[in-house]
Symmetry: C2
């Protein structure tokens, strides 16, 4: 069932074979074209009647059944409803009444986002038996577009961390290396997308929680403009910084998921569902961050970033280095940490009182900052974050976007513990509220994914850069079959 | 020099004689028509060449010289520059190049607002020798419109209170009764306007600080929509709740001052400088708050409120009682207090460290809450305030405005100390960010001013209701001459 689709930037790729290029030139992809098709590719297969939504749903459920035991991406499955919804979708495609290109796409949802009838716990023990009685706004929107929700995926407890080594629900492994972190806090989303256990996933991003697992797992992760996707029905880490975002195996798929989850007016959705074209991207200069030794970045990550900049220039884009000398990566990280601790304490106030044992020692320790810091510290934090964001906006004003590494490091073994703070590069987009898309740029010689992100004024540009410069590492060897 | 002006609502009043009606029917006004003319009336006198800006400036300076010793409204005079500016204004009026109706109007500025070359201290001892090197944005805008700045007026220390019993700059007395508070925190603004020691004044309002002195002193006080007048150059009490507002002896004057201070585009300023007409006000129902015994309101204040409601109905407006059963006046007051304490601590962090003795024990005690409360308390406070505001907006949605008393009590003797929290009614408009205009409704049999406020969706409506229902107590006996 070969199907050629034209990418927004003029490149071509076949959805039956994928276009995954490893640094050594080896093309790798999933053996199953249903899995390889991702989100929008599946819609085209459905439209061509090459595959039905029921077959797609069964293919994913079967892979979860066979492969998730070791990976531990899922914390709850909704197989029965998924199949029912897939049947309904199949009927719609059959009668020419498909609701969108997403109709029938099997999607995973992060465990802090309410899915009717499934647990709603944010990876926190205290809530593990609480059932969601209604869908979160973003899930409801996806369902309106025909999405099939496969189940809930694991996350860092309370979304307050970047490794998804969860005290209650276990470690989610990296599909590229068992025993390595999938990143977090949307670790289950990143792992499930990379391993081909869903076509795309919802995640949340407060200081980088969508883009970090996208980076470690070698997939695309987009944090949209703040507020574009409603956070209604999401257990907050920080209601002032939280964003709902999307993870998928292409920028086009991210765009389609985002447009479907945000419930924008039809006309707007049409626009944001399309990454900017190469022609558009060539019209404005973009910046590339020169962090100048201020933070420790692994050499492979720095090289991948340089390659992305070269690729952009080779594609005809004007790329200028931007130092942001006043931007203190460590300060912003700590501001985000303080704001998250204070707001999370409020979010969990009742449970912390009634069931303190339902929070791990790690989470207790992180939340404690919300009580040890005083009110003036937090007031200062909000003001400082706003002032820093204003400074970045000013420095960014001549550019359409800023390129930077997604994470200072590639995935690491759980037992090694966290290296330099993982969200050093990602937190910037959260305090700005601006969209940022993380995209894979191949893998290290050891086979661990590399990633760069594009922070932009608008979602089309960040996604357009992700599509132009993204270079997927393909399918993880253990999950190709 | 009789001059008849048509009010927006169709009433007529002569600016030479004023239209101040005491409850007993006695018309009282200032003996000097220059003082009686207020802001816009003066502009008309200037246009008619009946008076010059220099004469007006001299008249006000002379009154300040003679009357402010006992009142203590002013903390700094700028007589030399005022006269220079008045001369320049006179030249403009003479050559037909007046910049606005406000050109040449003698205005007082609250001591937390920067006026180039004058002290900039917010009534705090630690800053008493600090000179402002530039005008605050709102002062610069007033000067662009030709205003003559007479000087700085006293305030509650740090804007953190409602009595203007200032440790460093003394008590500002109520023009209606020596030994009674003028209210606060813009107590000097209220007293100076009521006593005819300026044509109008700038104040700031965080939980009610413009409207409270307007209430106690029997003048009009308008807190515009948040952000309409820039707070740049204002020493913050709470940068999330602070508003710059205006005080004057008529709603028209407030509208003119507001439009001139906000620097809106000419077209917008034209609109907001006009209180809504009676015809417009009749088109939508308004609400009147039924506080139902939840807070203690002095019987005279409650009666004045009932009379205002009756007056509104007699004018053909539809007024419905609104109970707001979920609104907790005390909770909102305490939320505002916490947010102010935390943000003020940040605002004054350096001085608190370098010169702790420059803050009174009262202010130290109030600021301490910002250190004794923890970060989570403040995060909860911001969220709770936003949720309460949302609730009020919903309850308010069928109405164009809500009428309520401005303060639960009339002015009281300094030695009696604060009764029930003064900002119980005023804080609502601050957490909503919506405009609210306090207007006088006569005086008690003991001669103390009464006040009602109109909280509305837009500034024209709140000012229009103030103009329609306002009933000034006239000129205070000791300040008529």
């Amino acid at each position: 069932m070969p199907l050629t689709r034209k990418l927004g930037n003029g490149r071509r790729a076949t959805v039956d074979g994928g276009f995954s290029l490893c640094p050594d030139g080896t093309v790798t992809s999933f053996a199953n074209p249903i899995i390889d098709a991702g989100v929008t590719g599946l819609g085209r297969l459905f439209a061509d009647r090459a595959v039905t939504p029921v077959e797609a749903c069964q293919a994913y459920l079967s892979r979860i059944d066979g492969l998730d035991g070791a990976l531990n991406a899922y914390v709850a499955l909704d197989a029965e409803r998924a199949l029912t919804d897939a049947h309904a979708s199949a009927e719609r495609w059959k009668s020419g009444e498909a609701r969108s290109l997403l109709d029938g796409a099997p999607i995973a949802v992060k465990a802090n986002i309410a899915v009717e009838g499934l647990p709603w716990h944010a990876g926190i023990g205290a809530y593990r038996d609480r059932m969601a009685t209604a869908d979160a706004a973003c899930v409801a929107k996806l369902r309106e577009h025909g999405a099939v929700i496969l189940g809930l995926v694991n996350m860092h407890e309370g979304a307050f961390g970047g490794t998804t080594d969860n005290h209650w629900f276990g470690k989610t492994h990296n599909p590229w290396r068992h025993g390595y972190t999938a990143g977090g806090s949307s670790g289950g989303s990143g792992a499930a997308v990379a391993a081909g256990l869903c076509a795309g996933a919802l995640g949340t991003d407060t200081l980088g929680s969508v883009r970090i697992p996208a980076s470690y797992c070698g997939v695309y992760g987009h944090k949209p403009t703040q507020g574009l996707i409603s956070t209604e029905g999401v257990i907050a880490l920080s209601w002032t910084l939280d964003h709902v975002g999307v993870l998928a195996r292409s920028a086009q798929d991210c765009a389609c998921l985002m447009a479907s989850a945000c419930g924008a007016e039809a006309e707007l959705a049409q626009v944001i569902a399309q990454p900017a074209t190469l022609e558009t991207l060539r019209q404005s200069p973009i910046a590339a961050i020169d962090w100048g030794g201020r933070i420790e970045v692994e050499p492979e990550v720095a090289r991948a970033f340089e390659r992305a900049v070269q690729t952009a220039r080779a594609a005809g884009l004007t790329v200028e280095m931007l130092a942001l000398p006043d931007y203190d990566f460590d300060e912003v990280f700590h501001l985000g940490w303080l704001i998250s601790a204070a707001e999370s304490q409020v979010e969990h106030a009742e449970a912390l009182k009634s069931d303190p044992g339902g929070f791990s020692p790690m989470l207790h320790e992180r939340l404690a900052l919300g009580a040890s810091a005083n009110a003036a510290d937090l007031a200062r934090g909000y003001r400082r974050a706003a002032a820093i964001a204003e400074g970045v906006r000013e420095a960014m004003s001549p550019y359409a976007a800023i390129l930077m590494p997604t994470t200072p490091q590639v995935a690491f073994p759980f037992e090694r513990g966290e290296p330099a703070p993982i969200p050093y590069f990602t937190a910037m987009a959260d305090i700005l509220g601006l969209p940022a898309a993380a995209f894979p740029t191949g893998a290290t010689p050891e086979g661990l994914p590399l990633s760069v992100q594009a922070l932009a004024w608008d979602d089309e540009t960040s996604l357009g850069l992700a599509e132009l410069l993204g270079h997927p590492p393909g399918a993880p060897p253990d999950y190709r079959g």
